[in-house]
Symmetry: D2
Subunit: 321 residues, 4 copies
C-alpha cells in the first residue's frame, strides 16, 4: 500500500465572479462581516477574521456570476514541486503565475471539468494592526462583530459532468481523499466530497451538472463556530434582505449544519458549522446509494428545487433560478 | 378602559390520549426525558424537570390519539371563583371535579369548539427527593439528562371551526390576551395565539379545522433553553427513530424556534424555544394578512402538507397523514 | 389571604450617571450595540433592539458614576393611580413630573435607601423606520448586529443599608414579590431579589452596603438570548478593551448566567441570560442561609473582591476599586 | 528546510489509573456518557460515541490515581516503523507489545520525564450494533444522551521536570509540532502545547512539576461540540455531585473553552471545546512570556491554587489537593 500524500494543506482562496461588484462587496463586508485587504485591477481581496493568510476571497467584476480560480496551499515548497510535477504529467497544467494579495508563485491548472485551480506555497500571513489587532496574540485578527462574522473560508462545492473523473483526478494528482460519496444505480458517482484536512471536506463535486455545462459553481462556504451561529446568520440574512434558499438544517451526508443564500452577484453562499474531525488515517469513504439519499437531509428538511438545479453561471433560460 | 384580568396564571396540565400507552410513555420518558409521577386508572402522570407542579402531562389510554383535558391554573382561589362564575355565565360550564395528581378542586368546561378545559387553583408543588433532588434548591427537580431533557410544558395548539368565537371566548371568559393573529381576506380569523403569561403564547387556535371536526389537537409543546437544544432534540429524534415532521426552524408568527415530531400514539409534539418576553401591558395584537403569511416561515422553511392537514384524532381516510 | 397586586408591569428605564458621557455612550452603542434615540439636556436616551418602548437607558453626564432614576411602568393608568396613592401614603412620594423620551406623566419617589424611582403608565412604543425596521413586524426593531447586540434591559441591582426595609417597601407599596433572599445569622436579610414579571428578578437589593452609604448601584443588566451569547459578549469585551470583572458563570441564587464588566464611566454592567420563568402564583421565596451562600456560585466560580465591595458612586478612598 | 513529518495521526487512547475502579467507571459511563467496550484483567475499556476506534480510554485499578499508557496512532504501518526506528535511536524504546482492545502491535517507550507512551497503527474501527447503531452511517455510534455525552477523546496534559527536553523529544522523535509555548525569564520553557492534528493541541506539557516528580498527569480532556455544552457539562456535574475545580471559562493560551473537574479516582478531567483549526503548514509557535501569562485566562477568570499544584499521583502531604 502506498502511503498517503500530505502535500496539499488546505483551501487557500476562492475567486468569485460577480456582475455587481459593489453589491457583492457590500454583502461580504457588511453582512458576512469579512474585511477588505486590497484591490488589484478588477478584483477586491477579502478575508475572514480567523483566516491566517492575507486574503481568502477574491471578488472579481465579470459579466456573469461564477467561480474563478480556486487556490490550494501546499504543505511546503517541495510539496508544491511534487504537485506541479504531477499536474504537468496529467497534461492539465497551465504554467506559473506571479501570486497576488500575499501569495507567492502559483501554478495554474484545471480539473477535468475545467474549473480553474492553482497551487502555491509561499503566503504572507495577515498582520493585524490598529482596530484589527486582537486582544489575544494567537488569533489572526480581532473577531468580526459585523453581521454574521464568519470565522474562515471553509470549502467550495462545484458541479461537473463526470464526477468519477474529477474526483479521481484530485485524489491521484493532488492527494485529496474521498470522505463521502454517492453512487448512482449505474455505479458511477453522483456526488463526491474530498478533503486534505481533517475537516470532513474541503472540496465537493456535489452533483453531475444537469445542464451539462462545465466549470460551474454550486457554492462557496464560510464557517462559524457553532450551530447557534448558523441560526443567527439566518436572522441576519432575514433583516438584511438576503435571499435565503434553505436551512439552517443538517445534511445527512457529512452531517454539516448548513444555511444557503444568494449573494447579490447571484452566487450561492453557504454558512456552515461542523462538529466532526476525520482523524482516522484509514477511514474508507462512506458510500451512499441513491436509495439512501432519498431519505434526504438528516432531519428530513425539504429542499427547494433551486438547490438541485441552480449553479453559477446560471443557464440562460427564462425559468432559470 | 377596563383593566386586564390577571386570573389565569399559566397552562398547568395537558391530557394526551394515546392508542399505545406503553409506546407513548416510552417516548415521553426515554426520548423527551420526562419523569413519571404517578398512575391513576388508565392514566400515567408525567412532569418535565423544570415544572414546579407535580405533573404537567397526563397520558391516557384511548382508542384514538387526541387531546383530553387542558387545565389552567388560576392566580388565586378568588380568581378561580371569578373565572368559574364567568364560565358558568357563558353556559359552557360542566361542574366541579376532584383534582388528581396534585391538583385540588377543578372546574370543567369546554371552549366553543368542544375542547375539554378546566381551571383549578390548589396544586401541590413537586417535592424532589433521592435521585431527583437538585443541587440547587431553587430548582424543582434535578435537570433531566435523558434524551431531549425538556424543561417544561409550554403551550397547546388546537384547531377549531370558528377561531373568532373560540379566541374571543378565552379572552372574555378567562382573561387571555391575543398576542398575534392571522386575518383572512373575509376579515375572519384564521389563526389566533393567546397568552396569560409574558410568554408569547400559552394557547393557540392555529388553524380553522379543514375537516370541520371539533376538538382536535395540532400539537402540545415542551420548552428547552436555547435554539441549540432544539437542534439537539432533532438529533435525538433521528437516532431514536422518532418521525420528524419539520424543523428545527423559526416561525415568522411569534418567532419561536420549532421542531415538530410525532409521538408513537400519533399526536404531534413540538420542541420549542422562545427568546421573547411580551412585557408591554398595552401591546396590541400583531395582525398578519393572508398575503403576509404567504411569505411562510421566518427563514422560508418549506413545510410539509401534513403540518397543515393533520390533527388528532386523525380523520379516518386512507390518505390521512 | 389578600390577592397579589399586578400593578407594576416591568422595569422601564434606568438612568446611569457618568463622568465621561462620550466614552459611556461609545460603550453602550458600539460595544453593547444599543441605539441612540434622542438627546435632552445632559442626557442621551438609548434602547436595546428588543425593547418595545422608545428608550430603556438614560445616560446623564455627572461628576460621579451612579444610578439616577429607576422607572417602573404600571399595567394601566388606574394601576398607576393606585401605586401613587400607596407611595404617597408611605410618605416617600416626591410628586409628578412630565415624562421624557416617550414616557407620559411620571410620579417620583425614593425607596427607603434613597434610590430615585418613579412610576408611569403612558409610554410611546418605538416605531422603527429605515435601517432600523425589522423584517418581521412582531419585532420592535431590527436585531442589532453591533458588538454584543443586547436584546433588552433586564434588571437593576442596588445596594442599601437595610434590605428588610427596602425589600418590604417595594413589596408592600409597589406589589413586588420576593423570589429569592439570603438571610443572615441574625435573621435579617442580606440580599433580596424581587420581581413583577415571571423573570426571576427585576430588582435586587444585592448586599447591605458595606460602606453604609445610601443610594448606590451594584449593576444594571441587559439580557441576551442564550448562554453562548454571554460568552460571545466576553469575547467582544476582550477585544474592545472593556474591563471584565468576572464571568461568564452561573449564579447559585437565581441560576442566571452572568458576565460583569465596567463601562467607561465606572458603572458595573451585567450581561445576563436566564432560562427560568417563575410562573407559580404561590411560589414562596427561596431563602438561603449564610452557610449555604458560602458554597458560592453554582459552579464554584471564584469572585474577585471588587464584586463584593465596589458600587457606584465609589467611596473615595485610595483603595477603592 | 526539512519537510514536516506526518507520521503520527492522533491520540488514540489514554490509560487512567484509579484507586476506585467502580466509582471511576460510574463517572465515565453515567456522568460523561461514555460506553463500555470490554474488560481485560484489571482494566475496563471505554469509548466516546464520536471516537472511531474501539476504545479511547482504559481505566485500570491501581493504588493511586495517575496516567498509564498514552497511545498514539500512526498514519500508516510504514510510519509506525519510522517512528519506532526514531524512538529506538533515542534509547527510550521499550519494545513491542501485543495490542489490546482493538489495537494491533504496539511499541512502548517513555518520554524523557517517564510518561509511558506507545505507538501503533493497526486498529479495529468500532462497529456499532443494536442500540448503539446510529441513524446516519457516517457516525461511529449513536450519539450518547447520557449525562455530558462527550464526543471524543481530545488531549492529554502532563507535567514534567524539563519541558524543553520533553517537548523537543516529542517533536524530534515523533514529529509533533509546537503550537504554543510559554517561556520563562531564564529562557526555558514553562509550558508547551504540541499537535499532530490541526486541533490546537493533542499533548501538553502544561507546567514544570513543582514537586519535581516524574510522570504525573494534569488532566485528560474530552471534547464536546460547542461552548453551550461545556456549560451544560457543569450543570450535569453540579447535580451529580462531581467536584468542579474551575470553569467553564476560556484559556488565553489556545483559546479553548474549559471545565475542570475530578473523577472519583482523583484524576482531573477536562471538558473542552475549540473553535480553531490550525491549518497553516508554516505557523510558528505562539510564544508567551511570563509577563503576558500574568494576565491570566482570556476573560480574567480566577483559577484556584489546586489547578497549579495538583497532579496525579498526588504528593502525599497533608495539604495535598
Amino acid at each position: 500500500m502506498t502511503e498517503a500524500v500530505h502535500d496539499v494543506a488546505h483551501l487557500g482562496r476562492v475567486e468569485l465572479l460577480t456582475p455587481d461588484l459593489t453589491a457583492s462587496l457590500g454583502f461580504f463586508v457588511d453582512v458576512l462581516g469579512m474585511g477588505e485587504v486590497e484591490r488589484v485591477g478588477d478584483s477586491v481581496y477579502l478575508r475572514a477574521w480567523g483566516d491566517y493568510e492575507r486574503a481568502s476571497l477574491q471578488l472579481t467584476a465579470a459579466d456573469r456570476p461564477g467561480v474563478g480560480a480556486i487556490a490550494w496551499r501546499t504543505t511546503s515548497d517541495a510539496a508544491l514541486e511534487r504537485r506541479v510535477a504531477a499536474v504537468e504529467a496529467s497534461g492539465r497544467g497551465e504554467g506559473w503565475s506571479t501570486g497576488v494579495a500575499g501569495h507567492g508563485r502559483t501554478y495554474r491548472f484545471t480539473d477535468p471539468d475545467g474549473h480553474a485551480m492553482s497551487v502555491y506555497y509561499e503566503s504572507l500571513h495577515f498582520e493585524p494592526s490598529g482596530d484589527r489587532a486582537p486582544a489575544l496574540k494567537n488569533q489572526p485578527e480581532r473577531m468580526s462583530t459585523r453581521g454574521v462574522g464568519v470565522r474562515r473560508l471553509d470549502h467550495v462545492n462545484v458541479w461537473c459532468r463526470d464526477i468519477d473523473a474529477n474526483s479521481a483526478y484530485m485524489a491521484d494528482t493532488l492527494g485529496f481523499r474521498v470522505s463521502e460519496q454517492v453512487v448512482g444505480d449505474d455505479g458511477r458517482l453522483v456526488g463526491s466530497w474530498l478533503h486534505v484536512t481533517p475537516k470532513s471536506y474541503d472540496l465537493a463535486y456535489g452533483r453531475v451538472d444537469p445542464a451539462g455545462v462545465g466549470g460551474r459553481l454550486h457554492h462557496v462556504a464560510f464557517a462559524v463556530d457553532a450551530r447557534e451561529y448558523v441560526m443567527r446568520a439566518a436572522d441576519v440574512f432575514l433583516d438584511a434582505g438576503v435571499p435565503i434558499e434553505c436551512g439552517p438544517a443538517k445534511h445527512a451526508v457529512q452531517q454539516t449544519t448548513f444555511l444557503y443564500a444568494f449573494e447579490p452577484g447571484g452566487n450561492r453562499v453557504e454558512i456552515i458549522t461542523d462538529g466532526r474531525l476525520l482523524l482516522a488515517p484509514d477511514r474508507p469513504p462512506v458510500t451512499w446509494t441513491i436509495e439512501e439519499r432519498k431519505r434526504g437531509q438528516a432531519w428530513g428538511t425539504l429542499m427547494p428545487d433551486s438547490w438541485f438545479t441552480y449553479a453559477t453561471p446560471p443557464i440562460e433560460t427564462p425559468q432559470s433560478r
